[in-house]
């Protein structure tokens, strides 16, 4: 990717203190996001993908959450060191978010136009009337029919797909540099999902908005992303350009995941592969590869030490965290 890096996350650690011990939800994550790039973060529930993104905007509730280490560099500024006020000015203006459930993330007692206009008023200093006009314009842009009339409706008067469109209108109203979409279509039906993904794709291409797309659906990743990070137990186990990830996965977990999904065009095998066992408990993880108990290619070293990140290609920053691919093992 020749474009400049717009967001750099370095060694991010986010932990939660619980009654049973310390949960390292995110355990040393690093990645770069470039202008105009769509980065996919995939993983199963509890792999830390949402917490990563909440940490970027410092939205992790504390206590019990705590960002213990790392840097989040946005245009050279470390957001983790910035004051609350500085971060607040970035939220919604430079970096905005779309959440999974559009009903609980909208305010039920405010008209939708007011909710879209709020960020515009705040960040552009526009008055109420021009902000509302801009909100209506956004609603038209994202394809809400009869936008002028519907601007005065409340969230419950919209369908799930329409609500998610309103969330997108809110998120894009200030032309952000980065859009973080956390499972934006998981609550929607497939035909509506197709509409929403198409919308995110075309709008982000238009303004060269960088997108971080968090999802558990590898199909969505294949169609939307340029680069993909696969997360497992709070770590990025593999990072690759989208084609390389799908056609030449390096980590046994990535391979297992890809072989586990049934395909609608019946191109898959007669019997699905399944990864045995379940993801580990994140409390007091031992110093070992967290995937080792489920891995089909487990070796002795895997249960004794955490595999380091091995960069396989510096140009595409392709990397994998697996003892099978470390320098020593490659040469051996």
């Amino acid at each position: 990717m020749s474009e400049e890096s717009i967001l750099r996350v370095e060694g991010l650690v986010t932990q939660f203190s619980t009654d049973r011990g310390l949960v390292k939800a995110v355990d040393g994550i690093s990645f770069d996001l470039h202008r105009g790039e769509t980065l996919g973060i995939v993983g199963e529930s509890g792999s830390g993908k949402s917490v990563t993104n909440l940490s970027i905007l410092r939205l992790v509730q504390s206590p019990p959450g705590n960002i213990a280490a790392g840097k989040v560099l946005f245009q050279g500024q470390d957001l983790l060191q910035a004051s609350e006020e500085e971060v607040r000015l970035l939220r919604g203006k430079n970096i905005s978010m779309i959440f999974q459930d559009p009903l609980t993330s909208l305010n039920p007692v405010l008209k939708v136009s007011m909710q879209i206009a709020e960020a515009i008023q705040l960040h552009h200093g526009l008055g109420r009337k021009p902000a509302k006009a801009k909100a209506v314009e956004m609603m038209k842009l994202i394809g809400i029919p009869d936008a002028e009339r519907r601007a005065d409706d409340y969230p419950h008067q919209f369908s799930g797909g329409m609500r998610q469109r309103i969330m997108i209108a809110m998120a894009l109203s200030c032309n952000p540099d980065i859009l973080i979409a956390d499972e934006p279509t998981t609550a929607l039906d497939v035909t509506i999902q197709a509409q929403i993904l198409e919308l995110i794709k075309s709008l982000s291409a238009k303004d060269k908005t960088a997108v971080i797309l968090i999802t558990h659906d590898l199909g969505v990743v294949a169609g939307m992303c340029d680069t993909v990070c696969v997360m497992y137990a709070g770590r990025i186990v593999e990072r690759a350009p989208v084609d390389e990830l799908f056609y030449d996965p390096k980590h046994p977990y990535t391979r297992g995941l890809l072989d586990s999904i049934p395909s609608v065009d019946l191109s898959g095998p007669d019997r699905l592969y399944s990864i045995p066992g379940a993801p580990p408990n994140l409390i007091d993880l031992p110093d070992a590869c967290p995937f080792a108990p489920r891995c089909s290619r487990v070796m002795e070293v895997c249960t004794k030490a955490t595999p380091p990140e091995t960069v396989l290609d510096t140009a595409t920053s392709r990397s994998v965290r697996c003892w099978l691919h470390t320098k020593e093992n490659q040469n051996a």
Binding site: E44, D189, A194, H216, P262, S263, D265, L266, R271, S274
Partner: protein, 334 residues
């Protein structure tokens, strides 16, 4: 009359829910036509998949088949017996033959019962009512063997549901459904709450059990890929009606109804090259409300191929080719 080859025959099934208005003097202001005339049959050993978007009536169909929801009209025949005509006592006995697996493995298990007791409960109830002869020791043995068959170690027998992961809980739900040796399993979104790696474990388990126990499935899901993997035949529902029904391979390669085509093209493929090259049919608008009575085809307003006559009368399910029925004027019908 139902065909003797079929385990299940559903004829003209309708489930309408009243919309009530008023506080003291309630009056019916309209009807939600959740299921509006559904016909299908399932042969022994077959797995029929019912697919559609939320609100299309697939779960209500399942509940009506399982006699957990009273049908407004139509009949459900299990091995030729009309289930709705049975007395409460006979229906209870007949429930041995059809059991359910639910979507949410969290809310469908009693949090105060141990895993083994959850699985043994159907056996205990049937033994108590004299419908099966089994003593407590046999029930214990049977429930342990079911746990083992569903991939749960015997050491889990005394654990409570909250101590299990989602996939393990779904295994408990499946073991419970198998306890009485049913012929038909009605599985309502059995894997949609699970992660990909766990989903494939459960799908494989269900496939193995189908073979070993000679089971017939009515499998409900919104995920077409899951349905196509698991089922031998597929019925696509839209607004309370079946719009297309055929075998899985034909549905994947040669879908006929414009809605099925759009649905298939909307499913993201886990293959970046195919994703870039395929043409997606993006449907306009949302699924309309099932409380409106449609004069013509209910899919008309979103259909990219709508014609004049689609507005006049609703199409009925017709044979388009051998073993392939579709409800669309593009393929004939007046």
């Amino acid at each position: 009359m139902p065909d003797s080859q079929n385990l299940l025959d559903v004829r003209g099934l309708k489930v309408h829910f009243p919309i009530e208005k008023g506080i003291i003097f309630k009056r019916v202001a309209g009807w939600v036509r959740a299921v509006d005339g559904v016909d299908f049959s399932i042969k022994k050993g077959e797995a029929l998949g019912l697919v559609g978007e939320s609100g299309c009536g697939k779960s209500t169909t399942a509940m009506a088949v399982a006699q957990l929801q009273t049908a407004t009209a139509g009949q459900v025949f299990l091995e030729g017996r009309d289930l709705a005509s049975l007395s409460a006592k006979d229906l209870r006995a007949a429930r041995k033959d059809f059991q359910l697996v639910f979507q949410d493995p969290y809310s469908s298990l009693d949090p105060r019962q141990k895993a083994q007791d959850i699985i043994a409960e159907p056996l205990r109830i049937f033994a108590k009512n004299g419908l099966i002869t089994m003593d407590e020791a046999a029930i214990q043995r049977e429930s342990l063997s079911l746990m083992d068959r569903c991939g749960l170690s015997a050491s889990f027998a005394t654990r409570y549901p909250h101590e299990f992961s989602g996939g393990q809980r779904q295994r408990i739900g499946i073991a419970r459904a198998l306890a009485l040796g049913p012929k038909l399993i009605i599985a309502d979104e059995p894997v949609s709450a699970l992660d990909v790696s766990i989903q494939s474990q459960i799908l494989n388990l269900l496939k193995d059990l189908q073979k070993d126990f000679d089971l017939t499935f009515l499998f409900i899901a919104h995920d077409l890929a899951v349905i196509e993997y698991f089922c031998t035949r597929i019925a696509v529902m839209y607004l309370g009606r079946i719009v297309e029904i055929t075998d899985a391979a034909t549905m994947a390669r040669n879908p006929l109804h414009p809605y099925t085509k759009a649905l298939l093209s909307a499913v993201p493929l886990p293959d970046p090259r195919k994703e870039r090259s395929r043409r997606r049919i993006i449907l306009k608008g949302d699924v309309p409300s099932p409380s409106i009575e449609y004069k013509g085809c209910p899919f008309r307003e979103r259909c990219p191929q709508a014609m004049e006559k689609c507005a006049l009368s609703p199409p009925s399910l017709m044979q388009a080719e051998e073993g392939h029925q579709v409800s669309c004027f593009l393929y004939g019908g007046a």
